[in-house]
Structure formats: structure tokens, C-alpha cells
Symmetry: C2
Subunit: 613 residues, 2 copies
């Protein structure tokens, strides 16, 4: 099935997103308006993004000492995306948005990720940045910065990491000092001068828009001039590349933000990734060195503000990984249907006098395609489920909203990590289906694989997600989040037990869930984080597979029910059931293997001496 067909099935048949129109915020929406957005994005992605996906990989951004250049086609795609209104799709009508549910917005945005994840400057970053300001900025900051980002006039970044501090944000050393005696009286917010280096900044420098808005994490020194250790000392600032007035018009002053260099990457090459120097004096502004920035929220609350957006950012990363996987699935499915090679395996072997068959008829090629389908569609269902939870959190009844928020907390590490690992593996299988051709740059699959390798790294590495899950999420509120998730999983299992075709999977999922529960307790049995967390990544993997098995079983219940409806697309539904079966037969059994070291608090890695390597 194409992505569109699968998305339609998941949105309408499984998640029933049409029912959202019963909520005041979405009252003007219905299936037609949702479909119109999906149609528009599908077409725009096909017209402007897919044709240049290889081009942006080949013609990397380059810096002439002054400006960063990207191919003109990428600029055109960025412009078309901004003009489509998708940057503000989920926003209020009054700020120019469409009040689209998050789940529909993400499903629609996914077309762009599939067509060209590095094309057009990654609109999601600008939306996310503007969302952050909508939540934590002052009224004027929202007006001047966020609205112009939603309108596509300004593009956004996220400036967290520094060359010496990636996973460990508590160690950032970018300093922010008050700018003049009147620093507290600037209408754009308390005004500071920032000095420091920010690393891995996507879209840190380009000519795609009139201005670039950098939200920057920095520390305000104490009275002794020292930085406060840890994350408590971190504040959030808006640092525009070009200064603006209170009407959002450029003042003509260039801020002291300079490109130190471009990172040359394995993939995602369409997006310039930069090292930025803030306040080194390359562009002195208003008479002195130091990048001018405006405080957002209160001092010391920078990380809290930034993490406000983290759940959605991590779902977006997971969905991007998923769509790269999906792109490879579609490409390899097409190849497998059209490439003749080999002959059927009959009881007496093969008959060389017979014509060759398309490789899709070989069981192992089907295995590779079915694994891709199972991983990518399973991941997609999880991402859309999470996006639906975001809508619930924002528009549901108070109890439902609170539950949705808690479930989201639980699922976010999985939504980020699982597709990053398994849709990457799907991309590897897409190469394998192509044989030698897949290893060449004449086919798109090698690029998907390279692009996707980023997703286990950025927005919190696999290791960080694992610590978040086992170290924080499953123990928060005395384990209430885990209990809530388990109750949702058990509800699906109970429904499955009443469906003969799926009851067996219900039992297997129940067993896996029980194993996860036991391993969680065993990991924390000594109460020592060092012991509990030593095998956090295998725990994350087992937990992720259990979650995806649950999602698949829930989707399969929907597909099984659909089979008896008139007008059903039987092949599509059978495909969902087969993909579910594949996951339970081929993948779920790995859960026990991963949990062994967790449940025994195995100390092989923890006690490994540096000298023994």
C-alpha cells in the first residue's frame, strides 16, 4: 500500500480522527478539509520535493565566506512550503493558522519527509521554534518573531548543543550578560549580550528567508561572574540574525552571529548544519561585540521552556525516520515487482528451462519486504497515535487530557528511538532487495539509509532516550505512567481475546508485557541507579518492541473488523494482518532476549575495565 492509503486507514478507520470535529477547536473541520490538506501536501511533495531529493544530496550547501548556498530548487521548495500555509497549520486562526489537529498536520507533513527530508530547509524546525515562542514568549515576542515564522518570512533554528556539550547540556558555557543599564526595559524582552559557540545547528545560516531566529540556551553569570553548574543555570534567549523593530521590520543592523563553518555529513545533506559563533565580534552591533538576545520566560528556566516542545520534536524525529523507512519500502517493493531473477523453489529444486520470475516471489524477498512493511507501518501507527494524544492533551476533557499527557510522556522515548533504529534497518533491507543496484547511487535507497542514520543521534541519542525511559518515565509518580500504559495495552489484549484470529497474539503480548513489568522491578530492585540503568538500551529495545506489538494488535483488530464490512479493500486489510503476524512471529520473541540482561542487572558492561578493551 502507498503511504497515502495507509495514512487514510490509520487516520480514519483506526484513529477516527473525524470525530475531532465535535470539539470546538476543530468544529470547522471534517474529512473533506483533512483530505484537502493531505492532497495538497501529497502534490506539493511530489512536485517540488521528490524531484530534487538526490540533487540536494549531491550539491551540498557551501559557504563563500559570506553566504551559504543551497541549490535553487531547494529554495523554491522552501518558498512553496511556506506559501502552502503548513508552517502554521496547527495554529489558531487568529495567527494565520488552520487549527488543524496535530495528528492530521503530522500525517500531512510526512509527505515531505518521504519525498525529500533534506529539501527546503526543514519547515518543522521553524514551526517548532515558533511554537516554543507561542508558549513561553511575551506578547510582543510572539507577534514579532513567532508570527513571522509561521508566515515564512523568518526561519528558525534550535541552538542547544556546543562543541563540548551535546548530551550533557548542563555543561554549556555560552554566557549572557545584561546589555546596558536599560537592559530590562527593551520592549522585545530583557536584552542581553551572548558569547559562545553553538554546534550542530541545522539551518544556522542560509538565504531561504528574510531573517533567521535563533532560540539560544545560555547561562547568566552570577554576581561572582561564575556560571551556575548544571541545568538550573540555563536560560533561553531569542537571538535574531538581523535585528528587528517592534513591528518586526529589519532595522538594517546585522547581529553578531557568525558562521564558523559547515558540518559535512553522511546524510541530510540538503540542510546546512552549522557551527555558529555568537558574540565573537565579527559583526559588532550597536557599537560593540556580543550577540544581542532577548530573554524568553524567566532566567534559569531555559531548559524547561525548551523541553516544553521536546515531546512534539521527538515525535517529529520519529515520524521523519518512519517516512525514510517508508520511502525505502515503496522503492524496494516497486523494484521487487519488476526485477526478474531466479525461479520458483519446487519440490524437485529449480527448473532452469523455465522463465525467470520477479524476485518478489522468493520467500526471502517477501520476508525483507514484509519486515519493512511491519516496521514502517507499525512505527507510523505509533507516531500518529502519539500525535493524536497531543490533540487529546490540548482539547480533551480534563481527565482525558491528563491521561494523554502522561501516556505521551511514557511513549515519547519509544516514538523517538524505535523508528530511528528499525526504520533504519528497513532501509538496509531496501538496499538488500535491490542487490548490487541498491549499493549504487542510481537508486534512491542508499541515500535513505544514510539520511536515516542521523535519527538515532539527534534530539537525544538512543542512550539518552533509554535513560529517560528506565530512569525517569517508568518510575515517575510511583510508576503511574507505566500502569496507565499497561492498562491501555491490556484493554487491547482483552478485545483481541474475543477475536479468534487474534487471541493468540493477545496471549503473546500479555506475556511480553508481564516480562517487561518483571524486568522493570528487577532492574530497580536494589534501588541503585548505576545497577538499574546499566542495560537501559536493551530495556528500551524490549519496551519498544512490546509497544509496537500492542500498536499492531490494535491496528489488526481494526483490520479484522474491516474485513466483514461491505466495500472493504480486502487486500489492504489482509496486508495489515500479515504485517501484524510477521511482527509477532519474527520480532516479538526478541523481547525476552533483550530483557535477560536487564532482569539480572547484568554487570558485564558496567564492570568492564577500560584497560581490558
Amino acid at each position: 500500500m502507498s503511504y497515502r492509503q495507509t495514512a487514510d486507514f490509520l487516520l480514519y478507520d483506526w484513529l477516527h480522527v473525524e470525530t475531532l470535529q465535535q470539539r470546538a477547536r476543530f468544529a470547522e473541520h471534517n474529512r473533506e478539509t483533512f483530505d484537502a490538506v493531505l492532497d495538497m501536501c501529497e502534490k506539493l511533495a511530489a512536485d517540488k520535493f521528490a524531484p530534487v531529493n538526490r540533487l540536494v544530496d549531491t550539491e551540498e550547501p557551501w559557504f563563500d565566506g559570506e553566504k551559504v548556498h543551497v541549490p535553487e530548487a531547494s529554495v523554491a521548495a522552501a518558498r512553496a512550503y511556506a506559501e502552502s500555509g503548513m508552517l502554521a497549520a496547527a495554529q489558531d486562526y487568529e495567527v494565520g493558522g488552520m487549527q488543524l489537529p496535530c495528528v492530521v498536520e503530522m500525517a500531512a507533513h510526512a509527505f515531505f519527509s518521504k519525498a525529500g527530508i533534506g529539501v527546503g530547509g526543514a519547515g518543522m524546525l521553524t514551526s517548532g521554534n515558533a511554537n516554543l515562542l507561542m508558549a513561553h514568549g511575551s506578547e510582543l515576542q510572539r507577534e514579532v518573531f513567532a508570527k513571522n515564522e509561521f508566515a515564512g518570512r523568518f526561519f528558525g533554528t534550535m541552538c542547544l548543543s556546543e562543541p563540548q556539550a551535546g548530551s550533557s547540556l548542563s555543561d554549556i558555557v555560552t554566557r549572557a550578560t545584561p546589555d546596558g543599564d536599560d537592559f530590562e526595559r527593551d520592549p522585545l524582552g530583557p536584552r542581553y549580550r551572548l558569547r559562545g559557540n553553538k554546534m550542530w545547528i541545522s539551518n544556522g545560516e542560509h538565504e531561504l528567508a528574510e531573517n533567521i531566529v535563533h532560540p539560544v540556551l545560555a547561562k547568566i553569570p552570577g554576581p561572582d561572574g561564575k556560571l551556575v553548574p548544571g541545568t538550573r543555570g540555563i536560560s533561553l534567549f531569542i537571538v535574531p540574525k538581523k535585528l528587528v523593530d517592534t513591528d518586526g521590520q529589519l532595522t538594517g543592523e546585522r547581529n553578531d552571529v557568525a558562521l564558523a563553518g559547515l558540518n559535512h555529513k553522511l546524510g541530510y545533506r540538503g540542510i546546512p548544519n552549522t557551527l555558529l559563533n555568537f558574540g565573537e565580534g565579527k559583526y559588532p552591533v550597536r557599537g560593540s561585540a556580543g550577540a544581542i538576545g532577548y530573554l524568553v520566560g524567566k532566567p534559569g528556566e531555559g531548559l524547561r521552556c525548551m523541553f516544553h516542545m521536546m515531546n512534539e520534536a521527538r515525535i517529529a524525529v520519529g515520524l521523519g525516520a518512519t517516512m525514510l523507512g517508508y520511502a525505502g519500502y515503496e522503492a524496494s517493493l516497486d523494484y521487487a515487482k519488476n526485477r526478474p531473477q531466479g525461479r520458483p523453489m519446487g519440490p524437485g529444486g529449480k527448473d532452469a528451462t523455465q522463465p525467470q520470475i520477479p524476485i518478489i516471489r522468493h520467500a526471502d524477498v517477501r520476508r525483507m519486504l514484509l519486515a519493512q512493511k511491519s516496521w514502517c507501518e507499525g512505527a507510523l501507527a505509533l507516531e500518529l497515535y502519539c500525535a493524536r494524544l497531543v490533540d487529546e492533551q490540548h482539547t480533551g476533557a480534563p481527565d482525558d487530557a491528563a491521561q494523554a499527557a502522561m501516556l505521551l510522556e511514557m511513549l515519547t522515548p519509544i516514538a523517538k528511538s524505535w523508528p530511528s533504529e528499525w526504520c533504519l534497518e528497513a532501509n538496509s533491507l531496501a538496499i538488500q532487495v535491490h542487490g548490487g543496484y541498491g549499493y549504487t547511487r542510481d537508486f534512491p535507497v542508499e541515500q535513505y539509509w544514510r539520511d536515516n542514520r542521523l535519527n538515532m543521534i539527534h534530539e537525544g541519542t538512543h542512550g539518552i532516550q533509554a535513560l529517560d525511559l528506565l530512569g525517569r518515565k517508568v518510575v515517575m509518580d510511583g510508576g503511574k505512567g507505566l500502569q496507565l500504559l499497561a492498562s491501555r495495552i491490556n484493554a487491547t489484549i482483552e478485545r483481541a481475546m474475543r477475536v479468534p484470529e487474534l487471541a493468540g497474539f493477545g496471549n503473546e503480548l500479555a506475556a511480553a508485557l508481564a516480562e517487561v513489568g518483571r524486568a522493570t522491578k528487577a532492574a530497580w530492585a536494589t534501588g541503585n541507579p548505576e545497577e538499574a540503568l546499566a542495560n537501559a538500551v536493551p530495556y528500551l529495545q524490549a519496551f519498544g518492541h512490546t509497544v509496537i506489538a500492542w500498536i499492531w494488535l490494535d491496528v489488526a483488530l481494526c483490520a479484522q473488523a474491516g474485513l466483514s464490512q461491505s466495500g472493504a479493500d480486502e487486500a489492504a486489510l489482509r496486508g495489515k494482518l500479515a504485517a501484524c503476524r510477521f511482527f509477532f512471529r519474527h520480532d516479538l520473541p526478541k523481547v525476552a532476549a533483550w530483557l535477560r540482561v536487564v532482569a539480572s542487572r547484568d554487570d558485564t558492561c558496567r564492570t568492564m575495565d577500560e584497560a581490558w578493551f
Copy 2:
């Protein structure tokens, strides 16, 4: 441990290769001569290969319409390699060789794979090609072609695949027709004219040597002008790029072999990979179109001749994959020791006022390093074990030689496939250890990962290896090969049972072996190949993990014994024991998960309808 330290341990302490000097063929060798070869290769690889590994990736071969250009440094490396004598290292003294044992030759050659797998035109291909002629060529063919390849005057290729026939060699359509009435009287061998296209030919065109020798698989049409279907119709020919006389001197005639184009690959970019047109008339020779080729061996025996070299070629691929993994392990170990980030996980969490620690002190980074060590050193031990079997096959007493040959047949699919999959995974972990830096081209690990992705494809894909293992090897001779392997594994288990530290692993290996045995029987219970082989790849994976667990247990027995010897390098030995423990705790449990679908003859993939995808 560096590769050299590990290789020394495996060669001398584990495999006792010094004892080979008791055999007539190796009588002039001893540890000093072996070490001298290892030293020489280590130095040459460090001097000429490592420094240009990134260069050959960046400056891909290009074709000016006449010649293929590669960087001068790569040409120099090729020349230095040829001059080192390594091309003929394992050959008889009388043909200019060193009569080096295969196991030492492979361990020495591994330095080049680790330093720059795409540098210098892949000498292994030339050696392998010449070995083929030594085994199947006429005396003059050996003299004219093979000897000049060993000397580095000529370079070699292997021309098997065609654009429409990769895995399915029975479908090649390159034709060979007798060249003139006197075709059988050419001193260089029966002379034919070849016409057809050969795809994926490494080093198919270059200027690294005086001439290129192509061994080409082609079909001689029957009296009706038709090609014989299947592999029975395949013959082997030597097709030199430039014709030579019976003294091996160039005659000045260019043969009708033309470069149709270069393949642009994801990795292995230093090696020109080509599509060659044979006999299309671009370079008419001796008055007509058609590439002149000389039959090797008998008509119809081409594939048999070619497969004579396949075991060694597949061990070489496995070793290449291993060394790419090892290169990533060394790089990420170095990075992890030197990159500060984060703080220890104390009972009360982390203390941000403390200085940061090198990331190697985090349990999850140790996990990623230990996984690499466990996979790469385990794979290395298997490859050297297999190479030692080659020596046994060639120089052992008749019974030992026969057993070695049978064990090699059993182990070859694993030696080829296991490192291709798991040392690639190791490369992914090497990237992950580096974080964002690993995703840039400023560090070598992303290239290792790209390079290594080829190894699951060429020399028989994963799927082909799996069919070879479950479809042929485990059932050959009524299962004698499997029994022999099981008896070797059981011997190791028995020794482990007498060592308290390792007895537990012995039990676990015994259980895994029993599961493999049961699954093998269950797969074939209906006798229907279609059912038995539907899950051949999961079987291959489970079998591979069981073999590596056996190898690790055997290595661990050696390390455990070494601990009590005076002067032992305790850290190195503890490291081997920890890597063994890692494999048993983290990896071996996956065997059960893979075998489930095999033992149940699960039909999910086999019965998946094309319309359901």
C-alpha cells in the same frame, strides 16, 4: 587491544600456528618469519594505505572516455603492495611465492583491509584470480597469466554477473564461439570469441598494471546455436585486456573489451566498479569484433572451476567485513577515552559541580564498545579458524584434510555472512559512540559503515548464503557436515565444563546447539524445500550466533588458561573473557527468537500475497 595484539593472541596462543612448521611445506617458517610478514604488512598499511583511505573515497575513479583515473596515491599503494610480494605470499617458492600458511597470509592481509579497503585496487582479487588459474589452467596459462599476476605485472578481475543475472548465474547470456578453424590449436588454450556484458566488475578498467586478466563465465552455444539453460552450460575463459604471446609479452593488440561505464557506489569507492562490454566491436582485434578468450578447463565446467576458489573468496570477504568493523572499534575506543561528557551515575543521581568524565566510563558507551569488541574479535577468530582449516585441507594428514574440507564447507556461509551483518552493526555503534561527530565526514567511522554495507551483497548475498547453509550444507552427505561441526562444538563444551568460570557458558552453548539441531530437523520435516527454506535467513542468523558463541568459548578457554601463566598480559586476557561473557549474555539469547519461525516452518512470508504489500 589493537588488531595486532589480538591477531598475535589468536595465531600463536589460540591456533598455535607455529606448529605448522612441522609440515614439509612450511618447514622454513617459524614465528620470526611469520612476525616479519605481519610487521611488514602492518607498516606498509600504515604508511601507504591508511593515509589515503579518505582520499580514495572522496576522489572517485572517473573515466575520460579512454582511461579510468584513480588518485596517484592509490596507484602508489598498489605498486607497493605488488612489490611486497604479498600477491604470491601463499604460493610455492618456485612460482615466486613465500609458501606462507593461508592463516598467516590472511592475518597479514587484514592490515590492508583495516587501513584502506578501497585503496590500491584490492590485491586479493588478483591473487584469487591467479589461484584459480593455478588450479585449473594449463601449464602455459599458469606461466603466462598467473605468474605475471603474482608478480604484479598483470592485475585480475572476476567476471561472473551480468546486468540481468546476479544471484542467478544460470541465466548469463555471454556467448563464446570458436575463433577460426584452428581455434583448438592455440598454445594459450582453445580460442573463442566472446560477446556479452559483465556487471559489477571490480577493477575492470584501470592503469594500475601493464595488463588486466579477466576470467569470464560464458556459454558455448550448442549446434542449434542455442545456449544450454542452467549452470551446466557455463564455461570459463581467460580474456586479457591486451593480447599476450606465449612468453607473456604484450603483442600490442588491444582485445575487444570495452568499458561501458563505472558504477557509482555508496562505499568501496577507491575500487573502480565497472560494466564491461565484451566483443561489441569497439576494439576489433585480428580483423573482427569479438573478445578473444582462452578456455580454462573443460567446456561446461566453468562454474565448478570458479567455485573452487569460492570458499577462500568468501572467507576473504568475511575478513574484510571484520576488519572494517575492527577499524571502527579502534576509532571509537580512542574517541571514547578522550571525549569528556557527562558525569558518573551515583546513588543520588549526578553532581553537576564535578568535572566531566571521559565517555568510556558510561555503562552504555562500554556496552557499545564491548559489543564491537565481541563481534569483531569473534568474527576475526572465526575467519582465522577457517583460514587454518584451509591450511589443514592442503597440508594435513588425509583424514584431517578431509575433515577440514567438510568443516570449511559448513562454516563458509557463516564466515561470509556473519561479519557482513554484525561488523556492519559494529560500525553503526562506532558512529553512535561518536555522537554527532560520527555523522560527519571529519571522522572515519561513517566511511567504514558505508564501505561495509557492500559485504552482505557481493560474493553471494545473505539470502544466497542462507540457502547454501540450510538447503545444501546441513543436509549434504546425510547431515555428516553438521554432525562433524557439532562434534567440534561439543568438544569445546566438554572442555568448558571442567573450567568453573566457563561451565555455565558451556551449558548455554549446548542448549543453543540442541535448538539448532531441532530446528534443522523441523525445517526439513516435510521434505519440501519451499517450506524448509522459507525462513532460511533467520536460520542462518541463529546458526551464525551459535558458531560465534562456540568460537568465543574456545577462545575464552585459551584466555582463562593464559591467566595462570607467568608473564601473561592479564588485561588482554580479561578483555577476551569479558567479550565472551558479553556475547553469551547479550547475543546468544537471540538464537531462540530466530529459530522460532524456522522450527514452526512459519509461512507468513511464503504465503504473503503480492497484492497485500
